[in-house]
Amino acid sequence: MSLTPSLKLLTLAGLLSLVTAISGCTDSAFESSFVYSQGTLSLMREARDGTKENLGVKRLLDDRFGNPQHLKAWGEMPIDFGGALTTVVEIKELPRGRKVIKLTVEEGQTLPAKAANLKFVTGGFAGAGLHVDEWNSETGEATVTASESLTISASDICAVDGGTVLTAGRMLYMRHCSHCHGTSGDGNGPTARYMTPKPRDYRNGVFKFKSTNDMSKVSRNDLSRIVKYGIPGTYMPSFLLLKDEDHHAIIEYVRFLALRGEYERKLVAELSSDFSEKAYKSRINASEKKEDIQKELEEFLAGDLKQSAKTLGADLAEIWAAADTEEAAIVPSVAREPDTPVSRRRGRELFLSKTLNCADCHGIDGAGNGPQTIAFAKNPLKADELYNEPGLHDDWDNLNQPRNLQLGMYRGGRRPIDLFSRIYGGIKGSAMPSFKTTPHEDIWHIVNYVLSIPFETDPGATGIAPSVAPESLVAPAAVTVPAAN
């Protein structure tokens, strides 16, 4: 019996599909690495990579945060890495190489309900892990199997299921977020180039839509709302259907990336004025000696930077942890003013007033076409240089025009408190300033007016006469447009 050619082809195709099915799915799809910021790369080589005696920025960063395959849980950071830190109380030997390790947590904390592995932080077994066969969450007794004698002693510190949240967060982040926000959270994933507005670069530690005071960081609750409900008007979709624990893991991982980026920036800031490639060149031009600069850098790395590496972490931890406290939250002192025509009229007057001057950016009709949108703004990064295109720019150097309030699309949420927070706290990273000195009643009037803009028959038509003489309202500022370059 001879197979016909078509049957042979079929068999071959079948075999091939089997082979691809087996080889297609490996963990290598997730292999990735964190990139260093432009700031780090602009430093002198010795500052970047370190010298024989001292660590450079790259190592300082990697020692604390690791890379995607080996994430490090730097205990100082206010991140829920997952699992619990415990202390060994005693070890009991059982027959056939089984051992019971009794663990305890600090007062006020609880032992996890489930435990799969132990990882030792201190003591003779530090850095090594053990698989847990049986776990008793009430007594804290973990039964393990180990043939050799273990060099564990009482009062060793041991992480139970340490880092589970962070690693889960990384897997979810790589699946759902990284193609836009990038592996390192630099907002530069493969799909980012097709997007306007650009995906957020977390590495400044700056997030726009938050319910905390203007000087505070973003809270976990704010990040959770963004992940769950998305940002209309941008490419950020809703991830509502993920589980709560997945939301939590993603948020902790985003905080991890933000903290890593911010830590890196702060380290670079310590070095950049004196030890960047550019500074080095100008110092050489100013006839400083190469050896002197390198000696100075060596001293700086050994002294100041080593010291900063410690204190910077503590500083960051403090401000990030503070964002989740009650003190940071924006809480209006008065309830929302009733949404009446009188309130809206008052809101419109404030919107146009010289003191608040909302119309300067958002336009007198709220269409996002105020005079500032056609003015050439100064580029803060390049002294005395204007941007090439007119309009407002954000901290990430992208053109970021004021919102068109007629569309009824509210990126940071449409609840009155969301709009109140945008006005009271400003929008960090954008040109929207904080109006925290404005009385809360007035902010509510503006909120009422802004919420009514999409439904106005005519711009500013509230059906009642204004209470303020028109001349005290702002006149659209004259804008001088430089000649096209």
Binding site: H179, N221, Y235, P237, L240, P332, A335, P416, P454
Partner: protein, 266 residues
């Protein structure tokens, strides 16, 4: 070798019969039982076509197998019967399938009209929400409690994303739109599928038979995130829907003052 091919062509219709017999009990056809009234009718049409197609397939395959078997076992000296160019046969195999096709197209007209023709929509249906697809999520807009849904947005409308609450046991109408490219509203369990076309507001109706959570997925390749454009339809009693909308109203009007925060637990 000749017999092998005859057996080969006997084998496949036999497999088809076995699959048809065991498939319903294994749940191979559908993602669960149909959860809407029109879904039951659509399944009926599916089974009708399935029966016609299966009978035709099995019959023609057995005839083919029989012909091969005859050819394989006949006397080497026996003369073949030549039937090519028989007008009678050609007329039969043209008329019989065309009757079948006309029968299929006529028998589904009622169901199609019921689903697609707006004047045939159930009289007592309520417009519950507007579903606006965008890359890559479903934005939902309910009318303010006590008002009618209109094409334009109105003050007090309620907004949510990726979760649509509908009452069970009564026909509901969804206004389907898209903000960017073409998408398709597809709920496999409800057997509802309709494209969302830019520039159009397309009403779709269905009645959910049982309380539960059903999938809403995009069924029109809409971009790189198409595969994760998924939402859920929560079907519940009218009183639960009302309660949900009341809660949504409260959430959407939150002014963040202390008393409010305590109430909503934020």
């Amino acid at each position: 070798m000749k017999k092998f091919w005859a057996l080969f062509f006997f084998f496949w219709p036999t497999v088809a019969i076995i699959v048809c017999v065991i498939a319903p009990s294994r749940g191979w056809w559908f993602p669960g039982a149909p959860m809407s009234r029109t879904g039951i009718q659509i399944d009926g049409l599916f089974y009708l076509i399935l029966i016609i197609v299966t009978v035709t397939f099995v019959a023609t395959q057995y005839v083919l197998g029989y012909a091969l078997w005859r050819g394989a076992t006949k006397d080497p000296g026996e003369k073949a019967f030549f039937s090519h160019g028989s007008h009678k046969l050609e007329i039969i195999w043209t008329i019989v399938p065309s009757f079948i096709l006309v029968f299929i197209s006529l028998s589904q007209l009622d169901v199609l009209a019921e689903i697609r023709v707006i004047s045939k929509f159930p009289e007592k249906s309520t417009k519950v929400a507007e579903v606006k697809a965008r890359q890559f999520e479903w934005r939902i807009r309910y009318p303010k409690i006590g008002t009618e849904l209109t094409t334009e947005e109105n003050p007090g409308d309620l907004y949510f994303v990726n979760e649509l609450h509908v009452p069970t046991g009564k026909p509901v109408i969804i206004n389907l739109r898209t903000q960017d490219v073409q998408h398709a509203f597809f709920s496999p369990q409800l057997r509802v599928k309709q494209d969302a076309v830019p520039g159009l507001v397309i009403p779709i109706w269905f009645d959910v038979l049982e309380v539960g959570t059903y999938d809403l997925v995009c069924a029109e390749l809409c971009g790189w995130g198409h595969y994760k454009m998924k939402a859920r339809i929560v079907a519940q009693s009218q009183s639960s829907v009302d309660k949900y909308l009341t809660q949504l109203t409260a959430d959407q009007n939150a002014d963040g003052t202390k008393s409010e925060a305590v109430k909503s637990g934020e």
